[in-house]
């Protein structure tokens, strides 16, 4: 062992289970029960990281989630995790860690020289300096120098889980307050979930033990834990961090798992009551050079001794403004560490503390504070000075040798979750802490989280809060809880929170936010430059913006700002806390909703039949649909051309099952639909179908489709595939909210029916190969008609509608028969050369025909008059959704209208999105006169075809327009949208 800082006995580690790990490539060892931080300290590793901006050497400062310095990257490649706190990493065998922001390693960092530049890099330096010619010039260089860990490379190979849970009471924090609260809340039959981020319950007591009933606290803790585990209505979640408390008692908690299976599990818990027993964080003191490796929070130094069996140094000085650090001094002394003195900022420390120090033979120096620390890569000595109540330092002493400075500036309740939930806070000078306001129901704080710093008071408070929560959720609690006797000091009035400052200490820096290199001077500079608002302070200096989110720095910064601006702590206020409480892996939020589960795709009833044919299947609006059916090694273009020509010349087969189908029934069904469509739907006869448009209330084209009347009071609304769900909801909204007096029902039946489209001049021949009760002759079932009956022995509905421009039948059968129908149609259609075709061929054919495709040829400004519905609108007297908007002046202004564009022989298709421009307009004010919305090469016409929205397009037929795009300039002639069979003769065969 390089350092030999591991104690021979004591702590909660398992010395029979040694573990080996690497830090910056160097092999070290530790024990089961260690954190990476405790193991590094045991191995004498003092410099564990570099600061964000200045690359100052930094050591472990804390022992928990509030750690600000000891950030490491763990793992390799895709498995890597960035910016983890060494204090939170449970040591496992083979762990590989690297310090962040240091190269080649933390103690020999090549950019460490930047630290010398601090006098020239005050807060806001970047904003003031790197502005000419522009920030962009410098950004790359600065970002390379600054920054923390590295993002993992590749797709995360780990899996993550989510779990919903429901509870009467959620208790956050497994320290003594949390355990007691959970105990009393669960004494009846209330469902209680206790969440704690550590591997074992006990909280602060694990590292800073206080005798309970005259024994070590373990005995009492294990009894309470055993009782809670035995209760069937209690769930204990350890290694689980409550990351957020959201509205209406919704708690998010991330559980870390060891071993095989999902690496983390995100708990989504809906509670009726939330009790926050999250404890408190110890505050650093703000004094010159307080960032040296070896300057540590006193409670952390004690925790390393008591919990991990590690002495963080061999010779310590304790500096404090409160009682708690005395216990750290005693623990260190008991572990064999030399404790030279306790420097207490208070002029007269309480009698119990002085007596105890005398008992432990440790000198107490009242009204004394640290004035400077030497030792760039680790504390070598400290200077002390007299101090007054405002933090003004007297003359500094000679350096006193030491390698560990244990500091305590008081305790700050961990109110992050409380504040996230909307709880208000105020500064309590007596407790020296920002504490929760008394009455805030959504999250009730207990124990240290409420500013209650004695165990006896915490226990009483937690017990009452737990019982109250149980009663409030309808669960009486009544049990034999015996309040334990705790041997502790009374709570005394807190010392003021001050910066320790000497008029003579120029050149030294007193750090407030160590991770982001923010000093007390930076805070005062922000005040001078009028960034007095706490939110401005944060953004100007970056204080509290790092991985630790200011857990140890916020309160000190507020105190310094308050002093600098002569305001109260409350007048300065706190920044808004936001979830997550501590950095949480994005994978946990994604859960299993990655890869194929990211967005569940819909399958056609005949999915496998398409796949067997070798169809190229793609995602079209959430449906997996055949794009085309390549033969052998056909390219897409060749396959699509073949499919188009097969339809035009013979017969094609298309799976149109996703088309939206909604049954609207009832005596008022016709009236209801007439108010929905632009078209007059009252005049639609039974057995007839009509193409219609629907608008939103802004008069914008929302969806189109074929409406058919099955019987007098039964209609089938056909929507686009993409609109199948949303139009169903939309119809319900009108009926539910606007016209509830109309007697109609709405039943979405899209998935009930498989729809096979048979289209082409020989379509009827193919259908005649099947038995059907429906007369499909042109006379009996003309274009735009619908018939019900049987087809191939099963119930069927046949529409004569066409999106290809050819004679078409849409045959709908119950979905279970869809696959068999598809196969039979291909089989029996062989005699007629039937060809399956996909979406791409369909799109070519509809562009040839100039059929509108909502969302491609229309956008959020397109009104029905723009797409040729002006006449239909003029004829319809009745009101309908969106009608009034089409009458607004905007509806009469020059509008972009739906037209076709024709190019000269031999030219390539127009690029999609190419803009129509007027070359006579000056280049800098040139505007768009419209754009190409659909474009392709027509195999049927053997030339390009295109559709466009063009300003005043219908009045410009025959005009040659100029188009521009990244592919250069083109010209085209404005024509009607329909390029193929404009009279529609082929539809009516």
């Amino acid at each position: 062992m390089s350092g030999g800082y591991r104690l021979a006995s004591g702590g909660r580690i398992d010395r029979s289970r040694p573990l080996h790990f690497r830090m910056d490539g160097v092999m070290h060892s530790g024990f089961a029960g260690d954190t990476l931080a405790s193991a590094l300290l045991a191995n004498g590793v003092r410099v564990v990281g570099r600061s964000f901006k200045l690359h100052r050497p930094r050591g472990v400062m804390a022992a928990g989630v509030e750690e600000t310095n000891a950030l490491v990257d763990v793992g390799k490649g895709a498995n890597a995790e960035a910016n983890l706190k060494a204090t939170e990493i449970e040591l496992v065998d083979g762990l590989e860690a690297r310090s962040v922001n240091a190269w080649p390693r933390a103690d020999r960092d090549a950019l460490g020289v930047l630290g010398l530049l601090k006098p020239f890099l005050p807060a806001g330096f970047y904003y003031k300096t790197f502005i000419r010619p522009s920030w962009d010039t410098y950004e790359g260089m600065i970002r390379r120098a600054a920054g923390l860990g590295h993002a993992p490379v590749g797709v995360d190979p780990d899996t993550y889980e989510k779990q919903f849970a429901h509870a009467d009471v959620v208790v956050v924090g497994g320290g003594i307050a949390g355990l007691v609260a959970a105990w009393s809340a669960s004494a009846g039959d209330a469902q209680v979930i206790l969440i704690d981020d550590q591997p074992e319950l006990g909280g602060t007591l694990l590292g800073q033990p206080v005798p309970i009933n005259g024994d070590a606290p373990d005995i009492w803790l294990s009894r309470v834990e055993a009782e809670l585990r035995a209760r069937p209505n209690v769930r204990l979640l350890t290694r689980t961090t409550a990351t957020g408390v959201y509205d209406h008692h919704f708690v998010l908690a991330c559980a870390r798992r060891l071993g095989a299976g999902p690496r983390q599990r995100l708990w989504k818990i809906r509670a009726k009551k939330v009790l926050l027993a999250s404890g408190a964080f110890e505050r650093p003191l703000v004094f010159p050079d307080n960032d040296r490796p070896g300057v540590m929070l006193a409670g952390a130094a004690r925790t390393y001794v008591e919990r991990y069996g590690v002495a963080a140094g061999r010779s310590a000085i304790v500096v404090t403004n409160n009682d708690s650090a005395y216990h750290a001094a005693f623990s260190l002394r008991a572990a064999g560490v030399k404790v030279s003195a306790i420097a207490d900022l208070r002029a007269s420390p309480p009698r119990h503390a002085l007596d105890a120090a005398r008992h432990h033979d440790i000198e107490v120096m009242p009204a004394t504070a640290p004035a400077g620390v030497a030792g760039r890569h680790g504390v070598k000595s400290i200077k002390l000075a007299s101090v007054d109540g405002a933090g003004r330092l007297g003359a500094a002493s000679q350096p006193i040798d030491c390698d560990l400075v244990c500091m305590s500036g008081g305790w700050s309740p961990a109110l992050h979750l409380y504040a996230q939930a909307g709880g208000a806070m105020h500064f309590d000078a007596e407790r020296g802490a920002i504490v929760p306001d008394a009455a805030f129901e959504p999250v009730v704080c207990v124990g240290a989280a409420r500013g209650t710093f004695t165990l006896a008071a915490s226990i009483a408070e937690a017990y009452a809060a737990g019982a109250h929560a149980a009663h409030a959720t309808g669960h009486p609690s009544n049990d034999g809880f015996i309040t334990p006797k705790v041997d502790e000091w009374p709570q005394v009035a807190a010392a003021p929170i001050v910066e320790l400052r000497s008029a003579r200490s120029r050149g030294a820096h007193s750090w407030v936010d160590l991770q982001n290199d923010v000093t007390a001077a930076d805070v005062r500079l922000a005040a001078r430059e009028n960034y007095r608002s706490v939110e401005h302070l944060k953004r100007y200096t970056t204080l509290g913006m790092a991985v630790d989110q200011g857990k140890t720095s916020n309160v000190n910064a507020i105190a310094i700002m308050a002093a600098a601006t002569e305001r109260t702590m409350d007048a300065v206020g706190t920044t808004r806390f936001r979830p997550p409480y501590t950095p949480t892996t994005l994978g946990a939020f994604a859960g299993r909703e990655v890869g194929q589960h990211y967005r569940p795709l819909r399958r056609l009833p005949a999915h496998e039949a398409h796949a067997e044919l070798g169809a190229v299947i793609e995602d079209y609006g959430g449906w997996l649909r055949p794009a085309f059916y390549p033969k052998a090694d056909e390219s897409e273009a060749t396959a699509v051309t073949r499919e188009v020509l097969a339809v035009r010349g013979g017969v094609g087969l298309f799976d149109g099952s996703p088309l939206g189908k909604i049954e609207v029934c009832g005596p008022d069904a016709a009236e209801f639909l007439n108010r929905i469509y632009v078209n007059n739907m009252l005049t639609l006869g039974v057995g007839k179908a009509r193409y219609g448009l629907m608008l939103d209330e802004n008069g914008i084209v929302k969806d189109d489709g074929v409406l058919s009347r099955i019987s007098a009071d039964k209609f089938l609304v056909g929507t686009t595939s993409a609109g199948a769900n949303s139009i169903g909801y939309w119809l319900e909204e009108w009926l539910n909210c606007e016209w509830p007096h109309l007697n109609a029902t709405i039943a979405p039946v899209t998935s009930q029916w498989a729809v096979m489209t048979v289209t082409g001049p020989r379509a009827r021949d193919l259908l005649r190969a099947f038995d059907t009760s429906i007369d499909l002759s042109a006379g009996a079932c003309p274009h735009m008609n619908v018939r019900e009956g049987t087809f191939a022995g099963v119930p069927a509905r046949i529409h004569r509608v066409s999106f290809t421009g050819e004679l078409s039948f849409e045959v709908a059968v119950p979905a279970r028969y869809g696959q068999a129908l598809w196969r039979e149609m291909l089989k029996r259609g062989q005699a007629f050369g039937v060809t399956p075709y996909g979406i791409e061929a369909l799109m070519v054919m509809r562009v040839e025909k100039g059929y509108l495709h909502i969302g491609a040829d229309t956008d959020g400004t397109t009104m029905p008059q723009d797409v040729g519905f002006a006449e239909i609108m003029a004829k319809k007297k009745a009101d309908y959704a969106g009608k009034r908007s089409t009458m607004l002046p905007v509806g009469r202004d020059p509008r972009r209208e739906f037209v076709g564009l024709e190019v000269a022989d031999g030219e390539a298709p127009l690029p999609i999105g190419a803009h129509i421009v007027d070359p006579s307009e000056a280049a800098d004010t040139r505007r768009t006169h419209g754009w190409v919305t659909s474009t392709c090469f027509s195999p049927t016409l053997e030339r390009p075809v295109a559709l466009a929205l063009v300003e005043n397009g219908r009045a410009r037929m025959g005009e040659i327009v100029t188009l521009t795009s990244t592919h250069g300039r083109r010209s085209a002639t404005v024509v009607g949208p329909c390029a193929y069979d404009p009279n529609g003769e082929r539809l009516n065969g």
């Binding site: 889980e161 989510k162 999902p262 194929q596 029916w753 022995g793 279970r816």
Partner: protein, 173 residues
């Protein structure tokens, strides 16, 4: 006689059986009729009661059992579920859904991975039902004496199956 064979939605997957007592399979025998009560139709509930031998439940999210199970899904709307269901009084939507049966002691735990609804027996006893989201997939869920019946839109059946099967895998580790 039908020329066409009816296909099971999930003919291509193998049922899950036995792992942690968890069993998941498609039940193609379930017929589903959507009953929609029109306004001004006072005879509706009586007609339904006569057809199914039980009145449609008026309490939200509960199920009444007659010749078919009548499950409340919305005010004035019920699913009639069973092996033989007369579709005369409603809309046959048997093919719009795929019916899955999930059972075993950890069935509720598996569902709770992605369902926001409290599935404890106290909150969701036998003969209650709910429409909700299973992750990104809308489902209808009903608790019966021997497990859960899940209805998922036919087109999303494959996605729902793989989602549940993957969840079951994670459950056993």
């Amino acid at each position: 006689m039908a020329d066409l064979a009816a296909a099971h939605v999930l003919a291509h997957v193998r049922p899950i059986a036995g792992r942690d007592g968890l069993a998941l399979r498609e039940d193609p025998s379930v017929r589903i009729v959507l009953l929609l009560e029109r306004r001004d139709d006072p005879g509706f509930q009586q007609r339904v009661a006569k057809a199914f031998g039980v009145a449609p439940p008026t309490k939200a999210n509960t199920v009444a059992k007659g010749s078919a199970s009548l499950a409340w899904i919305a005010p004035g709307q019920w699913f009639a579920l069973g092996t033989y269901v007369d579709a005369r009084d409603g809309v046959d939507v048997s093919d719009a859904y795929c019916a899955l049966r999930l059972s075993g002691p950890r069935a509720a735990e598996l569902l709770s991975k992605s369902l926001p609804v409290d599935l404890s027996v106290g909150a969701f006893p036998v003969r209650t039902c709910v429409r909700t989201m299973m992750g990104s997939i809308p489902i209808f869920l009903m608790r019966e004496a021997d497990g859960f019946l899940i209805l998922v839109e036919r087109s999303l059946a494959h996605a729902a199956w793989t989602w549940l099967a993957d969840g079951a895998n994670a459950l056993s580790r």
